[in-house]
């Protein structure tokens, strides 16, 4: 397996969720700083986004002096970028004095494109990738709904292929400006 601690299929045991780390204690301050550092690692396939903006960091705990555990969730089950994410996070935290970094992959609850932050969506569009539409709780949005062209803003776009450069994107074309573009599929 790719990670230091292997894949687990249940939620992170204990510890602070990514968005609820208490900053009141010295450990809390350090955890918050480490989480910020881990979150600032760019996504290997969409380097315009950080891991925090992608919403794949599930939590981080200091488990001893110089020892830290991180929970990471894959966007897609077979996402090949996860190995690189683990390496990059480990490197960043080691540079910050953590001798022992263990990154575990957690599957539940399943990642959704709803976890991409508003800033992340803005960056995607700026980068020429149409951001995913909100999913809510009803599963993938029917593909028939229109996707806005990130180049000219037209909603007159069509699917060229349901799978594009990566599994998480589809390939579309704008019928107004005729430019092809990637669309981050709703998941």
């Amino acid at each position: 397996m790719v990670t230091g601690g292997g894949t687990v299929t249940d939620g992170a045991p204990g510890g602070a969720p990514a968005d609820e780390i208490a900053a009141g204690t010295p450990d809390g301050v350090l955890e918050a700083e480490l989480l910020r550092l881990a979150g600032s690692v760019p996504d290997p396939e969409l380097p315009v986004l950080s891991l925090a903006e992608l919403g794949v960091l599930r939590g981080l705990q200091l488990v001893g002096p110089g020892r830290v555990e991180v929970q990471l969730t894959p966007t897609y089950t077979g996402c090949p970028a996860i190995d690189t994410m683990v390496t990059d996070i480990t490197q960043v935290l080691r540079e910050h004095g953590m001798a022992e970094v263990s990154v575990r992959t957690v599957l539940s609850p399943a990642w959704s494109t709803d976890a991409i932050s508003a800033e992340g969506r803005r960056k995607l569009a700026e980068h020429g990738i149409a951001p995913p539409r909100p999913v809510g709780s009803g599963g993938p949005v029917p593909l028939e709904l229109s996707v806005r062209c990130p180049h000219c803003g037209s909603v007159d776009t069509t699917v060229l292929s349901r799978f594009s450069s990566t599994a998480c994107k589809s390939l579309r074309r704008c019928e107004s400006c005729r430019e092809p573009f990637d669309h981050f599929k709703e998941l």
């Binding site: 077979g78 539940s108 349901r162 450069s165 390939l171």
Partner: protein, 238 residues
């Protein structure tokens, strides 16, 4: 080794692994570049599922590359050769419809497979959509594409009965999925102006046999290709 996971995660993991390998064979050979990419991406999703499922049972590499043919528990449908593009799409339609129903069930349960099923079912929805769109396009396309799509559906029909054979320990009544599966598949087939295959959905020699380790002739050759590197260089990494 947890005996329940051996009897449940292994067959489902083998389904995903074997179909990933078959779909991967299309890389560089698909009719258009977009399909090359699409089939490889679907294969990658399935490989991701297989890695998680096989890791629940033991060492994923040993299980994938070290087992003999008779130790694999996948259904025979997924090991069938790709044939032409329509044949592959027929296999995708049958299997993705089944997998979507099965994972939906498992995701609602509390077994150790539930987290994977909850995650993978969202990906499989796209596989199913891909297969459905192509079935419609080929079935309702030219006389040639119509005929080939029908031929694919007919040829693979006899492997579909096995999908609904019980898997011990799964806690899901697979037989009960047959009705919704038939409904969904036939809705697509009808809309594509095609005809649902007739005749038995199992053959006397193949009934339920993949789950028991009995496979069809082409499976051994597929495994030879899949495993030869690992067997020639055990433990090698890059």
């Amino acid at each position: 080794m947890n005996p329940v996971l051996v009897s449940t995660a292994l067959p489902l993991g083998d389904d995903a692994l074997v179909l990933a390998q078959r779909l991967g064979e299309w890389a560089g050979h698909a009719p258009v570049l977009e399909e090359d990419v699409a089939l490889a991406n679907i294969a990658l999703d399935l490989l991701g599922q297989a890695r998680v499922l096989l890791s629940l049972v033991g060492d994923e590499d040993e299980l994938a590359f070290g087992r003999e043919e008779r130790a694999f528990r996948n259904v025979q449908l997924v090991e069938q050769p790709n044939g032409d593009f329509a044949h592959t799409i027929a296999r995708q339609l049958y299997f993705s419809t089944y997998q979507e129903l099965l994972y939906t069930e498992l995701a609602q349960g509390d077994s150790e497979l539930a987290p994977l099923a909850a995650k993978a079912v969202k990906e499989v929805a796209y596989h199913h959509d891909h297969a459905r769109q192509w079935t419609l396009r080929l079935g309702d396309g030219t006389a040639e594409s119509h005929e080939r799509m029908q031929r694919g559906l007919d040829a693979l029909w006899r492997f579909t009965g096995e999908l609904f054979q019980p898997v011990e320990g799964l806690g899901t009544d697979l037989g009960a999925l047959r009705e919704p599966w038939l409904e969904r598949v036939s809705a697509v087939v009808r809309q594509a102006t095609l005809t649902m295959p007739e005749g038995p959905d199992v053959t006397s020699w193949s009934a339920g046999a993949g789950r028991q380790g009995i496979h069809t002739e082409s499976f051994g050759r597929m495994l030879a290709e899949m495993q030869h590197l690992h067997r020639a260089h055990p433990g090698a990494t890059w």
